[in-house]
């Protein structure tokens, strides 16, 4: 493994960080609790964030997984609005990449240019009320009727749902076939029979809107099917390999920003006649935060490096996701503890990182599911 970034990778990182810091950082406002803002989305889209790993032929930047992760990391570090980075990454990795990898040429040509430049927004719809961690037990059904499929069912926790133009929807064509009975479709927002629920109220990631999705006799042209019938499970798993690595790069960036902010506070806040960072209990907690960040980051880079070489990386991706999400939650608690009272106050851009990190151990497969996946890969 080569630890040296190329000049072009460094340049992309610097540009992304500079843009994110210029537009989405600073003490002049609290970034955590505002709603989705399309002008913010468009600023990121102008950079190319919405199509980082989409081939250049379809309007993307054509980056590999490792470089993609590095750029998302830069946005996560520079952008204090964690929900914005989350929404962009959910769009790219869980909605756009399944189309890149499994759409036919006509569908890719029709949809990808708009999605890659962020003019259109994508969402992924798999989770259901009775199918969470057991995602492939889903009940939304698809049946073929001539040149269309008819979809019926309900999806929950659809990130970007309230603002999305295209939905990647997973439905079963034969429940008896379980994982191999699932088929994936791209459903346009204005398709008759598609209805959206009210935006979901959440504890964090507030600028990333989510809602339920209802499909009632929704007729989807066969040309909007991804892959073959029964391939939906594999398509979803492939999208999770992207999401569990490259989306979580945003949290690595957040951890770096959080650590820098907390170290600076520990160097300047004085108690007992000296900076609090000179108290061993404080310094050691900061070292633990640093250790979590660096270990999680290396796991991420290794997972992406393996994926770029076409090697199996199921365990490595899950280990990276597990390490990053658990680090985000624990280090966010530590950051609040080290800031004391102002860490608890909503005006100081500290406490929201905990609220934004709690869901990280839940979505894209809970920490328990990641451990299950790694255990299987270990032959257990």
């Amino acid at each position: 493994m080569d630890f040296q970034w190329s000049e072009s990778q460094d340049e992309l990182y610097r540009r992304a960080l500079e843009l994110a810091q210029r537009h989405f950082a600073g003490a002049s406002r609290v970034w955590a609790d505002h709603a989705f803002d399309r002008t913010h989305w468009d600023i990121c889209a102008e950079f190319g964030l919405m199509g980082l790993c989409v081939p250049e032929a379809y309007g993307g930047l054509g980056l590999d997984a490792l470089t993609t992760a590095r750029v998302v990391e830069a946005f996560g570090r520079g952008c204090e609005d964690v929900g914005l980075v989350f929404s962009a990454a959910a769009h790219l990795f869980a909605a756009v990449m399944p189309i890149v990898e499994y759409g036919d040429e006509a569908l890719k040509a029709a949809l990808l240019p708009g999605l890659a430049r962020g003019a259109a927004i994508g969402a992924n719809a798999i989770t259901e009320g009775e199918a969470g961690s057991d995602a492939f037990a889903l009940r939304t059904e698809a049946r073929r009727d001539g040149e269309v499929y008819v979809l019926d069912g309900a999806k929950s926790y659809v990130t970007n749902g309230p603002v999305a133009d295209e939905f990647v929807v997973y439905a079963t064509m034969n429940r008896k076939h379980g994982y191999l009975g699932i088929t994936a479709f791209v459903v346009a927002r204005d398709t008759p029979g598609l209805r959206l629920g009210e935006p979901l109220a959440k504890m964090g990631l507030k600028s990333s809107p989510a809602c339920s999705l209802y499909l009632e006799g929704c007729r989807v042209p066969a040309s909007r099917r991804l892959g073959r019938e029964g391939q939906g499970g594999a398509i979803f798993q492939a999208s999770m390999q992207w999401e569990r690595s490259c989306l979580f790069a945003g949290y690595v960036g957040m951890l770096e920003r959080q650590l820098a902010q907390t170290v600076e506070y520990a160097r300047t806040r004085r108690q007992g006649g000296k900076p609090i960072g000179k108290h061993q209990a404080v310094a050691h907690r900061l070292v633990e935060m640093k250790l979590r960040l660096e270990a999680a980051r290396l796991l991420l880079y290794r997972a992406c490096w393996l994926r770029d070489r076409g090697q199996p990386a199921v365990a490595e991706v899950s280990l990276a996701k597990l390490a990053i999400s658990e680090a985000a939650r624990q280090s966010s608690l530590d950051a609040i503890q080290l800031h004391g009272g102002i860490g608890f106050a909503a005006d100081y851009n500290v406490e929201h990182m905990l609220r934004d990190s709690v869901p990280a151990t839940l979505f894209s497969g809970t920490s328990e599911i990641q451990r299950d996946l790694v255990a299987r890969e270990m032959g257990l």
């Binding site: 034969n174 076939h177 994982y179 191999l180 798993q237 199996p312 299950d372």
Partner: protein
């Protein structure tokens, strides 16, 4: 023993040992493994790894379908065809 019979026996032993944990369900070539939930997503992923390591063949994604994984007879035919 023909190649197909040997492949089927190896796959049967794998399923009995690794997935069914030795439980006797009267496993034979036509046991509906997919319908009975024996083959879920995790087990199919593990099975693909076993097929890769033991038989030296990679099952292409387009062949990971219910048609090929419904029972041991279908799976045996798939592995045999990939081995050429």
């Amino acid at each position: 023993m023909s190649t197909s019979v040997a492949i089927e026996q190896t796959l049967k032993q794998y399923v009995a040992r690794e997935i069914l944990d030795g439980k006797d369900i009267g496993l034979d070539a036509d046991t509906p493994l997919l319908e009975w939930g024996v083959f879920n997503s995790l087990e199919i992923a593990r099975l693909l790894g076993f097929v890769r390591e033991h038989f030296g063949v990679v099952v292409p994604l387009e062949s990971v379908t219910a048609e090929h994984f419904k029972d041991l007879r279908a799976l045996t035919a798939l592995v045999a065809s990939l081995k050429g």
